[in-house]
């Protein structure tokens, strides 16, 4: 198909309203905008400074993840899945691997379960740090951004020691993990968590009772609990309205049933509550990590199942069965029995689910990612309407839209 000539800017989408009422102005924010975290476009109808209607457009980062899934093996999808919620890549890995393991009826080893829990919480801290740093910077607070990104950088370097990559780790494997912890990793973890506490103490000191911050975020972007559930909000946004729903507590998975942690909830459902819920959630995550790190179960990290785990290299080079097994797993992919499954984990944004349909081969028939950010974008207009244009920035920052996950 021949590409069309350069078309005017607003052609990829059609606005819901292009006639403004009396005295109203239609303004376009995005999709290339510093505060829309990449690729969201908000077409706003303004009455003075107040938004009367907001039309949210996403899809500018739709990269065809689900179509790619249908032409790769189950193993090869792990890097794609990483890039959904790229701020907390490991949680995507583990949720996807858990879904495939559920379809294959595989029970992961205790050490793998503990490690996945520990690393999920570590990724949650990294994601919340990014969200809070970015939204504070957009309000003008440059110093907290630098502090929080400093801690996040320690986390990234630490993850790179384990997985080889700073951001998109591709660490989960079907039936286990890529490799075990290197020596000294846990002692460095204790150091990083100490640094985290030092820096977040400063953030609390700078922001919690800051007059400007409170004025900009208190009673802005308010949503009620009933409305939040109707619009499909989950995660910190739902918890900020006072509803204590958290998949880690309600339907425990991995090692969460054995961990003692609180689920912080807000009062008003406004931006300030979302900021504070995320700060408290990070504290709870750190608490969980400190509890779990000394008592990680011993043993292998990969389940001993030839259907998904690559055989050890000496066997691959030594005996023909292992060679063929390795070859089949790499070329054809692990054979997952026909069926479907939906597995949801509590990602930093809310319920992250994978709906997998298998036709019995090593390539998926369908992979669908239930992305919390996408559903939240559907409800974003309710958070924006009625507030001022300048309130779009803190509200949008507090929703933590991640483009890779929203548009897939």
């Amino acid at each position: 198909m021949t590409p069309r000539d350069h078309v005017p800017l607003n052609s990829p989408v059609r606005s819901l309203f292009d006639d403004a009422g009396d005295g109203e102005v239609v303004v376009n924010l995005g999709p290339s905008h510093p505060a829309t975290h990449g690729t969201i476009q908000v077409i706003a109808c303004l009455d003075g400074e107040r938004l009367t209607r907001a039309d949210v457009h996403c899809g500018y980062l739709h990269r065809g993840f689900e179509k790619e899934c249908e032409s790769h093996t189950w193993h090869n999808l792990i890097p794609y899945v990483d890039r959904l919620n790229y701020c907390s890549a490991m949680i995507n890995d583990f949720a996807y691997c858990a879904a495939v393991e559920a379809l294959m009826d595989i029970e992961i080893t205790p050490r793998c379960r503990d490690l996945r829990t520990l690393l999920s919480e570590y990724s949650r801290v990294a994601d919340h740090l990014t969200c809070i740093a970015a939204s504070l910077m957009e309000l003008g607070a440059m110093t907290p951004f630098l502090y929080l990104v400093m801690v996040r950088d320690y986390i990234y370097e630490h993850m790179a020691q384990l997985t080889g990559a700073r951001v998109t780790h591709s660490y989960g494997r079907i039936g286990g993990l890529a490799r075990d912890l290197p020596d000294g990793w846990l002692s460095r973890l204790a150091e990083v968590l100490d640094e985290y506490e030092k820096f977040t103490a400063r953030i609390h000191g700078l922001m919690d009772r800051n007059r400007i911050f409170i004025d900009r975020t208190r009673d802005v972007g308010v949503i009620s609990a009933a409305e939040a559930i109707d619009l499909g909000f989950t995660g910190p946004i739902l918890r900020s309205t006072g509803v204590p729903r958290d998949l880690r507590k309600d339907t425990p998975y991995l090692s969460y049933a054995s961990l003692d942690f609180e689920v912080p909830v807000g009062i008003n459902g406004d931006n300030y509550d979302r900021y504070y819920v995320r700060m408290r959630e990070m504290d709870e995550s750190v608490r969980m990590m400190r509890t779990l790190a000394p008592r990680l179960a011993e043993g292998p990290i990969n389940v001993d199942d030839r259907r998904c785990t690559l055989p050890p290299k000496p066997l691959v080079y030594g005996e023909i069965e292992s060679l063929i097994n390795h070859f089949k797993l790499i070329i054809d992919g692990p054979r997952v029995p026909a069926g479907e499954v939906y597995v949801a984990h509590e990602s930093p944004n809310g319920e992250l689910g994978f709906f997998l349909v298998s036709d019995g081969t090593g390539t998926p028939y369908k992979v669908h990612c239930r992305a919390p950010s996408f559903v939240h974008m559907g409800g974003l207009h309710r958070l924006l309407e009625g507030y001022q244009l300048a309130d779009v920035i803190p509200t949008f920052g507090s929703v933590n839209m991640i483009g890779g996950e929203c548009d897939r």
């Binding site: 990269r63 790619e68 990234y156 700073r166 951001v167 998109t168």
Partner: protein, 175 residues
């Protein structure tokens, strides 16, 4: 009576000494302007995807693009001169990228930050543009998925060398 012969001031007819002097002057002028421009880059971070994480990391401590003069982002294309395309550009986003590029004034440079901006990365399908150089000219490609901050800094330094070596016509196309 010897009439005055008008001397056309084009390069070929100039006396050799004068020609060399002009070239020396333009070379020095280019070096000066190149030095100034390479150390005062105002990036427009056209941020879309995961590479944004590394962009945030490279802009802040400890990697710090401010050492290179390239820290202050300008979110208006009219005020920026380096278009950093950070992340995948999809076909839906492509008109916006072209629009932003066209709104920037000369001199401008384009940096393809990451594998997706360079070649589409591993998204070879109906949705992603397989490299932004299909749409706009690119000066430096930074590989990586996402690139480490050191790779980004290496890319910025390559771009700075390129700027330093380029010609910078200010008054007309020669000087």
């Amino acid at each position: 009576m010897a009439a005055t012969i008008p001397i056309r001031l084009d390069r070929a007819s100039q006396p050799v000494a004068a020609r060399g002097a002009l070239e020396y002057l333009t070379t020095k002028k280019d070096e000066l302007v190149g030095w100034a421009r390479k150390f005062s880059l105002f990036p427009y971070p056209f941020v879309t995807a995961c590479c944004a994480m590394e962009f945030m990391a490279v802009s802040s401590t400890p990697y710090d693009t401010d050492r290179f003069g390239a820290a202050l982002p300008r979110f208006s294309p009219r005020q920026s001169d380096l278009l950093m395309v950070v992340g995948t550009v999809t076909h839906k986003q492509a008109p916006i990228l072209l629009h932003v590029y066209e709104q920037m004034c000369e001199p401008k440079w384009v940096m393809a930050f990451g594998a997706c901006a360079t070649s589409g990365g591993f998204y070879q399908n109906y949705a992603a543009v397989a490299g932004i150089d299909r749409i706009i000219p690119v000066d430096v490609f930074i590989p990586g998925c996402p690139p480490r901050p050191e790779t980004v800094i290496d890319g910025i330094m390559l771009l700075q060398e390129h700027i330093a070596r380029s010609r910078h016509p200010i008054v007309n196309e020669r000087f």
